[in-house]
Amino acid sequence: MTKAQLSIRHLLGIKEMSSSDINIIFQTADEFKDVINRPIKKVPSLRDVTIANLFFENSTRTRISFELAEKRLSADVVNFSASSSSVKKGETLLDTVMNILSMKVDMIVMRHPSPGAHHFLARKVDATIINAGDGTHEHPTQALLDAFSIRENFSTFKGLNVAIIGDIKHSRVALSNLFCLKKLGANVRLCGPSTLIPKHIEELGADVSFNVQETLEWADVANVLRIQLERQQSGYFPSLREYQMHFGISMSMLDKLREVPLIMHPGPMNRGLEISSSVADSDYSIILDQVENGVAVRMAVLYLLAGQRA
């Protein structure tokens, strides 16, 4: 029987992972996808594991997805959100986590607004840490599920052209996707207004383009990112309407292409802003497949990391 050995003990970011780690996760997720499509969607693997979901930042999809993944693996789950906790009373992150761990918790799934919060915790505590988003740094499970969804549509990543379109500067999804896709051998192009693309990002192996139409023509896959509405206040672009006119993906843009790329979006979507409804609901879009795959990929991550603890 083959052993599935990851080189990591925590899932802090894609940057620390090898391509073989990513492939082991995909192969395991294939089997979990089969499990969650059965009438009985539950397996007993993690029945003796307790997992705390610590969300110091808002989330719907990621949080529900993690919780479903944990419950389908039969783990015991406790949830925590910063808005209704002692964090408001001034407790530090380390104290909060140490208190939760003394109640015998084995794994921590955490979203935190500060980049690197997970790296800090991993050095301080024994439990397995899974990053569900840290500030503008990384969102590794999103990148894994995006790549897993691409893999269902293309036979190989080698030479595949993937465009990431939108607010690259503030997006943890963009950075994790970039690391993940480069490790798997894909070509990555980042596209958006020049104010929303970090300088020197080419150093990480991506092309940069400011022309959406040209990028769509080049791409086999286009991952469209959410425009974070709060950014507009800080003057990164003149108005939402102007952003929509230049960078919003519309059907008329796709109609001009020789071949339409696969359209992805990590959610939540601003319909009519970065992506039009007709594109989001078209046959080119695999947005809901991404959500489905999210549960399977997270089950694989939890299963593989929990199994390495003993």
Binding site: M1, T2, A4, E31, A310
Partner: protein, 183 residues
Amino acid sequence: MSKILLQKNKFNLTLRRLSQELLENHGNFSNTCIIGIQPRGTYLSNRIRSLLLMENPQLILEYGLLDITFHRDDFRLRAKPLQPHPTEINFVTEAKRVILIDDVLYTGRTIQAALAAINHFGRPSEVELLVLIDRRFNRHLPIQADYTGLRVDALNEAYVRVDWEEDGSEREVLLFSAKNEEI
């Protein structure tokens, strides 16, 4: 040190006997399905299936492969998790007679996990177990096979390995006196 338990000829005879026993008890397999346990049991189940079809080409066999990785009771006791294999069961087992097939019956824990896993596909009216090798004195659970190729009495440290040819036909069954001598 390894010892040959079954040579190719005897191996072949044993497989033929096992398929004859199945035919005797299940006739035309109208309400019976065969499920091989991933990964090693599927070599045996594939072979048994082809022998059954050779005997009666008109036979309509419901045939599936079951992976029990997520149902094992030793997860987190092992140093590393096991890589799962595909489960391919495209039918329901509700009210059917199920024949589970694995190569070696040892502690019985794999079969226990398989019995739990099979419930995901319906409630079978009856479950039988076919194994090639029964290591009868090493059981941890009250689980017995209904069809057995060969009974082996061996120490706990010993290891039984069933080898198949690349085309899926039988080669030999070996007994190693200790597990680390396996290769």
